[in-house]
Subunit: 125 residues, 2 copies
Amino acid sequence: MSVIMNAVKPRLRLQFGQAVAIGPGKAELLELIAETGSISAAAKRMAMSYRRAWLLVDTMNQCFDAPLVETAAGGKGGGGARVTDLGREVLARYRSILKKCAEAAADDFAFLNGHLASTPPENPH
Amino acid sequence: MSVIMNAVKPRLRLQFGQAVAIGPGKAELLELIAETGSISAAAKRMAMSYRRAWLLVDTMNQCFDAPLVETAAGGKGGGGARVTDLGREVLARYRSILKKCAEAAADDFAFLNGHLASTPPENPH
DNA sequence: GGCCGATATATCCGACGGCATATAACGCTG
DNA sequence: CAGCGTTATATGCCGTCGGATATATCGGCC
């Protein structure tokens, strides 16, 4: 049988002042909003409260020079949320950074993964 | 006068299970322990409680197959903390990932920085 | 026009994280 | 051998973050 290969999971946050312009959570949320066309539906998919999802969207919009998500009130086809062109490009760029990072530093990740403990610390105090 | 150029600050965390094997805070702590030879002195430099610093060190040590920091009790030259070879190499690899990432994805960062708002959100609710 | 489902926002409250504090053991130094 | 500064660990407290809840408003649909 083969040796269990543990691996580290890179999590990248792009910070702008005190706020996080985009990170893993906001990226996934952006993706789900694009899929569902609704903040609340995206929040449900992530098992996240609508409040929190709305806050994340608000922060993202404030961090850039144009909104990443445009919203309209009214239910049943009337309202909802739409990811703008800028929103899609920001998401694509964020994914691109992660991908290029994994490729460019593959040797560093290999070294770190090769020296991981057999088991992650379950009870971090 | 030139246009104010805002920029995003990348923050990378390498997660192993629930714990963060290494991130910005742990990296700086590791560096300061190497400089000062003491957890408590490093903590003071970072305006961090000794408790928190010790917990971070403990987590780091548990995440890898050998300690990054070795400690010895006793004050005034007797005790202290020493960063191991593995610790120095882990730190170097972490820095290397950040550097390579910034280089490989320079165009993506340039795009994002070019579309930042004029001012970061000060009151994120 | 009434209903439904969505955005938008305020308030209350529980959980959790980190600080401050306290204590113990340890090991050079003088 | 007394003292000091360090590692190591437990406990109580408090600020903060986020969830739950409530409410208002809006806009298609039947």
